[in-house]
């Protein structure tokens, strides 16, 4: 089983481990637009990019490889013009791009947890065979972000509460919703590494460090990435 943390003398929380295992399962399985093998390859390219290794791929379109590398090492310089160029490239669509971003950022986040703690990276999962479902939610609309997003009614059953009282959710929560599974994924890994959406509205104590310490770290990481959001 993945994420056993064998020989690691650190109190890794159960929710952290569960959310990381769920993420590996998500990556290994076929999505809506990429196969399991392609999704694992996306994670592999992202992992190499963190070490400034510009590795190629025999199964991903060139624009996908380039997008992964930009997302990992040059995210502060992404802009609308770049996005439009990617959308005009062979082998990439809005749907495939959103799914790619989700795989990159979730696998990257788990790797970053390990790097921050000085732990060896978890081996990437073996891909699960099968075809992508190729289903775009009928409710998808172009709103304020580059790719379309879906409203509460387009989310998977049981996930509606993740948008809170907002029909379209907070911008960062709905950003990857063109693949509705991403909204649950976003939440569950947030809960494992940071706070659940419900905990964000609750007072201390939530973790071993205070909420102010948590938000100071968050703000510093955002500033280091020159992220306006």
């Amino acid at each position: 089983m993945a994420f056993e943390y064998t020989g690691v003398d650190l109190p890794i929380r159960e929710k952290t481990i569960a959310s990381q295992r769920m993420s590996w399962e998500m990556i290994a399985n076929p999505g809506r637009w990429w196969t399991g093998a392609e999704r694992v390859e996306i994670a592999r390219i992202g992992r190499a990019a963190r070490d400034f290794e510009a590795v190629g791929s025999e199964i991903l379109p060139e624009a996908a490889v380039y997008s992964i590398q930009k997302l990992v090492v040059d995210n502060a310089n992404l802009n609308r013009e770049w996005y439009d160029e990617i959308m005009a490239s062979e082998g990439i669509t809005e749907d495939r791009y959103v799914e790619l971003v989700a795989v990159v950022v979730h696998s990257f986040s788990i790797d970053e947890f390990h790097r921050a703690l000085g732990l060896a990276l978890e081996p990437l999962p073996d891909p699960v065979s099968g075809e992508p479902t190729r289903q775009r939610p009928a409710q998808a609309e172009q709103r304020y972000s580059w790719p379309p997003i879906v409203p509460k009614a387009g989310l998977n059953p049981g996930d509606e509460m993740l948008y809170g009282p907002m029909e379209w959710g907070a911008n960062v929560i709905s950003a990857l919703s063109l693949i509705p599974e991403n909204v649950r994924w976003l939440h569950d890994l947030s809960e494992g590494h940071y706070l659940s959406f419900a905990e964000m509205r609750q007072p201390d104590p939530l973790r071993a460090i205070s909420r102010s310490q948590i938000e100071l770290i968050a703000a510093r990481v955002s500033a280091l990435n020159e992220c306006f959001y």
Binding site: L78, R80, F113, A116, Y194, P203, I209, S210, F228
Partner: protein, 116 residues
Amino acid sequence: MLRESSQRSGTIDNLNLQGTVNPDADSGVPQGSLLTAFAEAAVRQTDALPGLRDQIVSELGVQELVDAAGVVANFQRMVRIADGCGIPLDEFTKDATDDVRDELGIHEYASAANTA
């Protein structure tokens, strides 16, 4: 979020948001300088990282180190979602934080272009 959580807890008298962008500024958050140094070393993967881990364990505790690493990991993800999808600031955040963004120079970031 930092300003809001500090106001809500009422435990920080002199919150200085410069501590989020300037490593030499004291944020006023307990052990804030150590935690931001750890965050910076983790994001930049510098040689200072192992020593800072030890320092957090020594001054705060081992669970605190693990939780701090989780926050770094989470926001390494969140910023890439925001940048990768070109999302603007939420309306409810924009007006409430405009002064802070000016003060900290955040309007200069390239991704500010995503917010009209």
